[in-house]
């Protein structure tokens, strides 16, 4: 992976090496990074330069402007005269794959008069210094690359382990995004999962990643369509990325490298992996990330499947409510939470009146339509924090966390009225509702039993009514 080598170099140690080289060469040397910012200081005390810059580092704006203009136009090497009249030789550092920065070489303090002979001396010294510096930097770069590749490979290894060890979707998403931010210093990393004809951002990390979470992008959006039209990753510009919902408020530099990997398995599209990095990953980095993306796709596909199966196993197919099996686990959690935080919990047991007669007369399909409608009505009468469950055929249990007995009775009456007033096909539908509020001596079974008994009392007293458990 390409990286700005100068960012990982210790300036202090580099300066020591540069100063020694400078003494041997009897020439002043200093380095700028790939962005044109000063990296090291002057190795020799050039009085004029030190006076202008008030020290050994280039800080004077005229000098900085001169260097940046020079770097922008520089091919490999140039002999120039700076605005203060000093002759200098500028070299571009790095190789064809990686641009590392710029090296400036000037002669020692006695630079005037600058004749042809001095120019030849400067050229020769600068060339020798360039070869030495570039070789040292290349060696360091190689060492850096090996270190980084080890990090990358470690992470790829861990992701591959995920396929057999972790099936929780949240953990898989966290591990993928965390690893990429850590390894590649990503400013933004996100994973979108395919939900029907959309990609929904399931996890986003980075300084403003939280703004992206939950955003949905249509598969037919031109950018997304392009991502999935090829196996290779798509390189985007910042402007292209900003056309996607939720990205516009994020700070994405136009110099960043933006890569979107389509995540596929044999079963089709799983989602996409996006990464925004401050510097180019290079061809090797992109290839490694492709391997990573392939593993991530399989891990995400597994985790998504397990998550869907778990969801289906606890959901009633007809109404979308929890099923009886899930009720037990949910009640345990809610009662523990209530005991920990000391808030009330009430539950309602709802039984539709004479529903067997409805089924027998109008058929089970008509009965199913009624059950779906009843579920919708119940849902519209409770809060999103309340938990609805289909207990049996026409029986429902509603858990009301944080609700005392008075308020639970109000909710029950609201459901009763809504059912009574809804124009169901064929005939009116009513319900009997038993309400019970958690007591100190209650267990899950006793609480459920009391609400069931209250529901039975409501039936016994004439149906279409609410009965409060004692």
């Amino acid at each position: 992976m390409a990286n700005n080598l100068l960012l990982t170099l210790s300036v202090r140690y580099w300066q020591e090496f540069q100063d020694t080289l400078s003494k041997v060469m009897d020439a002043n040397i200093y380095i700028f990074d790939a962005q044109g910012n000063p990296f090291s200081q002057f190795s020799l005390p050039i009085e004029l330069c030190q006076a202008i810059n008030k020290g050994k580092a280039v800080i004077n704006s005229t000098c900085l402007d001169f260097y940046r203009t020079t770097f922008n136009q520089l091919k490999d090497k140039e002999l120039l005269t700076c605005p203060r009249g000093i002759k200098l030789c500028v070299y571009r550092l790095g190789n064809y794959m990686q641009h590392l920065g710029y090296m400036i070489v000037t002669l020692g303090p006695e630079t005037t008069p600058f004749d042809r002979e001095k120019e030849m001396i400067l050229n020769a010294k600068a060339y020798n210094a360039y070869r030495t510096v570039n070789e040292v930097l290349s060696a360091l770069l190689e060492k850096n690359l090996l270190g980084l590749q080890r990090l990358e490979l470690n992470s790829i290894y861990e992701i591959s382990r995920l396929m057999t060890s972790i099936t929780e979707l949240d953990k898989v998403l966290d591990l993928i995004t965390n690893s990429l931010v850590i390894i590649y210093q990503a400013d933004l990393c996100f994973v979108g999962l395919r939900i029907g004809d959309k990609i929904r951002i399931a996890q986003a990390k980075g300084e403003s990643g939280h703004l992206l979470g939950g955003k949905e992008w249509a598969l037919l959006h031109p950018v997304i369509e392009r991502v999935f039209s090829q196996i290779e990753p798509s390189m985007l510009t910042a402007d292209e990325l900003r056309t996607l919902t939720g990205v516009s408020p994020l700070e994405v530099s136009s110099h960043s490298e933006i890569i979107l990997y389509p995540l596929w398995t044999a079963l089709g599209i799983v989602g996409l992996l996006g990464i925004v990095v401050p510097m180019s990953l290079g061809e090797n980095g992109k290839r490694n990330l492709q391997i990573y993306a392939n593993f991530a796709a399989v891990a995400l596909a597994n985790a998504t499947l397990v998550s869907r199966l778990e969801e289906e196993a606890k959901t009633d197919f007809l109404t979308g409510f929890l099923n009886k099996r899930a009720l037990g686990f949910t009640l345990v959690e809610e009662l523990q939470r209530a005991a920990t935080y000391g808030y009330p919990v009430s539950i309602m047991f709802i039984d539709l009146d004479d529903f067997k007669y409805y089924n027998d007369t109008f058929g089970h399909l008509a009965g199913d339509v009624v059950l779906q409608k009843v579920a919708e009505i119940i849902k519209s009468c409770i809060r999103v924090t309340d938990i609805a469950c289909r207990y049996g055929g026409e029986e429902f249990v509603i858990i009301l966390p944080g609700t005392d007995n008075d308020n639970a009775l109000k909710v029950a009456k609201r459901i009763l009225n809504s059912l009574e007033n809804h124009p169901f096909p064929h005939r009116q539908i009513t319900a009997s509702i038993g309400v019970a509020t958690l007591r100190e001596d209650d267990t899950i079974d006793s609480l459920l039993r009391r609400s069931d008994e209250a529901c039975y009392m409501a039936k016994k007293l004439g149906k279409n009514r609410v009965y409060n458990a004692t």
């Binding site: 210790s10 965390n178 850590i182 210093q185 990503a186």
Partner: protein, 115 residues
């Protein structure tokens, strides 16, 4: 130098252990160790002693730095400070600035402004 240096190492070890376990709560052990590995790698050229920092599923330890203290490492305090600064800056990207700041403040409180 010995005793003073050892005190510095022990103080920073406590600090690093706290940082490691707080991070592991939010990131998980695997990501936390990857983060440690990344920062060690970044600083290893400037401070070779940082490579003696050991980490694993059990946490982070300065034992090897402590036992090698007679080698006369320079700038140990500077090394630990740079490690923490770099660590927290990446942590901010992973957890958001607010939570990273929470962790930083918690550490400052517990270590009486040492960091």
């Amino acid at each position: 130098m010995g005793e003073v240096t050892k005190d510095v190492i022990v103080r920073y070890e406590t600090l690093l252990k706290e940082m490691w376990s707080e991070s592991a709560k939010y990131l998980g052990i695997l990501s936390t160790n990857l983060l440690v590995e990344r920062v060690i790698w970044e600083l290893s050229q400037e401070y070779p002693a940082i490579q003696l920092l050991k980490y694993g599923p059990e946490g982070i330890s300065c034992t090897q730095i402590l036992t090698s203290v007679e080698k006369g490492f320079n700038d140990l305090e500077e090394m630990f400070m740079k490690f923490i600064t770099r660590y927290v800056s990446i942590l901010a990207k992973l957890l958001g600035h607010e939570r990273a700041e929470e962790i930083r403040k918690k550490i400052i409180t517990e270590f009486g402004g040492a960091f």
